[in-house]
Symmetry: D3
Subunit: 301 residues, 6 copies
């Protein structure tokens, strides 16, 4: 069986070009140096890593802008789902090495005080990537080419992961002499289904392929190339954007709560949640649409 | 590799007919309107959803009867394992739409008071499906045809999931305008191995196939048709029913505790559990049977 | 796709013989009756179950020696990773039956007092297997032939699991009349991705194949035979041993913490951890090595 | 300082007689053998243990009726708060000894099977007392005379505990040869502030006084005699019954969730809860009442 | 016994005036509308609620400024401890009523969408008060006069609570028709020792006295008047400020982690923490100071 | 009210001398350098800190011997409860300063490697003190004179704490430049009832009195002098030793589990526990003794 066979055959150049053309429409709130934000379809936002000349390496500005971007998207009524991809030859090369050397060279003799400064940096980076998880809208990461180190930390904080055949992955941190501290060790084993392989990849820092990533459960779809990757990502995004935002965002919030809590507590949480949300008009709109076979129009959220 | 190849070739019409013939033998305690309960083999109970004319949609009576049925089965010494399946063309169509409209039309103006009424309904439905999980006996769900919405919530509370090739699944709640609140968001990601696909299925509410379900880890076996599904289910059930009930039920109770707790605490729990249970006669019976190569006969539990 | 295709073609007799030749080099601290400990490569330790005449069944000495061995390895600066395998025809036959009969025949009439004695035995065995998990160094288990009962408990406490084609597995405890109490019920579902299959295997105690184990996520690699299994195990072990021990051991400690805790707490833990560990020289050594393209030499840890 | 000085001087015979007089008014749904249920004031229910001839010892009927009673009260719109007290010379003598001897004499040879039967009994009793905690309405226990063994388990599941000077307490289970299994070991240390004293009382099973109970934080008020105890209890109950039921019941539900969860998760829970409940009319009614200085009238809940 | 007797007799007008005089020295980063920030002593910051004409009621600006202020203080090397008090006749009157009416009157018909807007407001307020808890420096709240509703939520997020004899408290939320959602229900029971009294205070919304607050464990000191309150607060703050900031801030971070986690996990966390922090120069400085009997001078942190 | 008034007037010189006389009777397994172990009464063990010339400061031998001692006591059938006290002028001066300087001067340049060495030391000390908690028998600490730093960590791991009037306490770690890492920050707030005072004591490292300790809930009894302290401790110990060891030890195990777990999970744990333990003969013996009014004789455990 092949998961990719579900990709409906509407991926074509026109569609892909459309994505690229529309990419200038995001408003000025989403103007960043390391990111390019566009709106390829109604309610669908596209965040592109925009330092191809540096292989989209993650520097301090990047972390700061990711946080700003996703905190805005969290409550932006024009956004119902987000695509993430990298411009240029790959997704991201992970932590910018220059950045790392800054950490090492903090001008501070005392181990304790240097420790507090490192704590601050680590927390800032953690907060940055966690803003993707805390964004109420489903986030789909589309990986082509290299996805290294911090890139794994980042996609592990997304909801859905697709990649193209040319993608390759590496949990690189061990090769840089450190334990991954911005999400991989925390999230990677919980979103996949083979702890043995996860640990091998982390301890050896070796490259791994899309096929391994699929087998492992890290990605759920492999496409032939980057064009079809973007097209398939957009297709899923548009489908999600057509659904009740009350239902979709409530699902994400509850999935996140459930992951970290016991089933009994998660059931209590969703009961509290739905005691209000089931009173939304979206239920009636959905019911009526299902009878009339028309596409429901949901109010902004 | 194909998981289905382990199905031994004893699935035949005779066997399947046998199941159906025996289905009248459950006693009057298990007399329900929406369920049909039978005993196809010693210690094996079979619970069938019995509203084929409504595609086995889940209405208030259904939830109430599921609870009554599984609370009885929990301590019924004649039952060691339970099969669940749907009569007619499929497993279940999920929540009865009529039912949903009742929720929406609660005669209560105040949002807060309506919230409490919804809370009660949600809790009742949650309690109903959780009674399957809390039943000490392993429960095997056998899915053919449609398994939609509440059906996913239900099978996620079972121990083992098989399906036939004609099965199709859909986490439908988003299409109805709500976040799933009776188990899917809480249990589905914890019993499977690809969070990316789980979330895609939940956010898009799209149909998915037995092959995807197997890949994902939602089911562990696909059979050719409904007959072989029932036959294979019965085979596994009989095998389980032949084992020490002390061992099997203790395993389920501990698996459930472990899922929601830290390994250290789960080890403490099973130590407490076995400080008494290792004193059961079933250990000696099992040991002697293993020497004599005879099938052990275990007392009722 | 086949995970085995990643095994690079350097498995040959020379290599395998090398492993066996070097196996006499572990120092006298690691002298045991039921285990044989050797050092096949710098920083790589190999622990072999050494009761082939008893199919490596686990008796009280075995549990005691496993604990001693792994508590020593935990802080042994000459060890960076550990291989586990069984001598003779298979990995292990699980609990020694003689042992079990001892439990049953404790000379104590009172159920409560006997319960406390059983508690002590269970805790001792749990502590034994948990010492593998608590050892800071990645532990790779290499399964050939039979891996039964307590063997599953043991490999579930390891980091990485490989097996050869001739391996077969069985969660045997139910057949012995008890709920598994030294790790399987607690760890097995958390390291794999198909709860339905896990529970079927536990409730039925049936044998399962390497292919099922791979599908399930229990192992991450199948090799053709025992020689290639050892060779592949050694290859991975040497790769891990060549990395910064600060990074590798920090990763294991954090992976273990993360498995049992919420993501938010695990992020706090790794931040605390790295506030000190990022000040290690291993970061600079790794960075410089990456520039010079030379293999870094890390100090002992 | 004396906590009792807050008791306003409106405790008089008339008031107390009023309570007793009105006690016949609860409807037939609340007709029990071991309990007497009355409605001493609008929205205030009074549950009295009604086996004074047996010192209100807790027998199987008692546990079953407590469960039925509080599951009804949970959603009864005529009830906003509940008082619990004992008829006759004291609160309760704890588990009925006859009952205990039944447990010991279960007609079952096998330790494992007897274990499952005991499990069922323990769970039933736990469920019974937990129904008080799960009742949405604040429950105030009023202890006079003896409060022994199971009585401590029971009051620990209540919200508020008052006692009269003649009260005396004993965590009696150790004297009966067992570890308390229906709430005391689980709840007592969490609702008080001196773990050292709690453990002394549990390990020694000695009697303790109202003063120790107050010091410890087990009770929050001591009255001079049983009459003033009932009067003070009623006064607090009436005050609670005059408040918004949305606010009061929401507070109890959130206090219970918070006790068992991390602050971060509890904050998430109350945010979900109030996203609906803040839309209740009770906020406006309360605000208007606070301006007009009139007592607000809240709709039933 | 009286806790207040430990107040050393150095509270005099001079000292108190000194506090007030120095209050203009905080730099421009700490310039707010609803808060006044001063530095009464080296390393000691004083945050005063500065809307006495509105009884220091908490409005949206207040919540926003509290967050900004404490996020700055978190890493400000000139700050080692923080005092909080209210200007004018009392501490704070809690939520500004105008504010509440805004919540109620959100211009949004749909219950679900209004729910999301309320969610955002609640989260913002929660984040504001939690910033006090997350500030690494101990925060001492000094309550005089009224401390109502949101005021209880706020002081519950502080480390230390003192009050003067004229203080009075009220968990007011139930009187406003809602369950407290910014900290009280979550933190109050965990920092005190009499759950019965806590719940009575929450369900009745009645006023309570400093003596009750002390008995309950909410405050740890009562002073005669506001002057001695400020003096005593400053004395404790100066004492804390004279200690190693590595030690003090590490203690707060670990106390917070421990409160929400199991002892076993908290021990692991502090071990990770101190593996770096014990290498700080502050240990040697402290040791040397203890020998030389001189006051150690610690570097900024 | 005064908790001390419950001390029955049987404390006299004879009784106290008896304790001292009998103190030579512990067998050779309990022969230590820093501890003196005696058996003042049947089933009661007395562990005395035995380095009065060093004010009972805690050095590496002490930690190692505490661990050995309490791991033996855990399953020693002759021991049912343990008293801890200090020889000489006080309880303990806490960590031996020499010891601390060793930590600081570890001969290791690399921060990371030094971190791992510190980790090992911290874990060893934590394991040492946790062995008191993990000992199944109630441990009563009797504090006279100074109880400083590590002494607080140690008594926080005990079950019951008494002190004499001359006792004084100090959470000294902040004065030594570090966050307490062997139990105080983890256990102290959970066994007491005034978080504000706990934090003040930790941040300021100031001395505190028996009265404050009692108010706070750290101790539960103050005696006039050391003789009455030992006498009262022995009296409680003898009372505990006279009870069913099944009941007492089961209570401690369950109290410890409950402290770290949710009530729902703790109820499940105790149900599992008692499914075996209620079948002990101790229940019948207790019941019969209660009828015959004779002191029951329980078998060893």
């Amino acid at each position: 069986m092949n998961l990719t066979k579900n990709v409906r055959p509407l991926i074509n150049k026109t569609n892909v070009n459309l994505i690229r053309q529309l990419s200038s429409s995001a408003d000025s709130d989403y103007s960043f140096k390391t990111l390019r934000v566009s709106v390829p379809s109604e309610f669908v936002y596209h965040v592109e890593f925009n330092r191809p000349e540096r292989r989209n390496a993650m520097n301090p500005s990047f972390f700061s802008e990711i946080k700003n971007c996703f905190e805005k998207l969290r409550y932006d009524p024009d956004c119902r789902t987000v695509l993430i991809s990298g411009k240029g030859k790959g997704f991201t090369a992970g932590l910018d090495l220059t950045e790392l050397s800054q950490m090492v060279s903090i001008d501070q003799e005392d181990v304790g005080r240097k420790g507090f400064q490192l704590l601050k940096i680590i927390e800032d980076y953690q907060t940055s990537l966690s803003s993707i998880e805390k964004c109420h809208k489903p986030v789909i990461s589309l990986v082509h080419g290299h996805c290294i180190g911090g890139g794994i930390d980042l996609i592990a904080a997304c909801d859905i992961r697709y990649c193209s055949k040319d993608a390759w992955f590496s949990v690189k941190e061990v090769d840089v002499g450190l334990a991954a501290d911005i999400g991989t060790l925390q999230r990677f084993p919980k979103i996949t289904g083979n702890d043995s392989l996860v640990r091998e990849l982390i301890y050896t820092a070796r490259n791994f392929t899309p096929e391994e990533a699929l087998k492992l459960g890290l990605v759920s779809l492999i496409t032939d190339d980057q064009d079809s990757l973007l097209a398939k990502g957009l297709e899923t995004a548009k489908l999600i954007a057509s659904k009740s935002p009350i239902a979709v965002q409530g699902s994400k919030i509850n999935l996140n709560f459930s992951r970290d809590n016991k089933i009994e507590d998660s059931l209590k949480f969703v009961a509290a949640w739905n005691s209000g949300m089931l009173q939304s008009e979206d239920l009636i709109k959905s019911a009526m649409a299902s009878i009339s076979k028309e596409q429901p129009i949901f109010s902004k959220l």
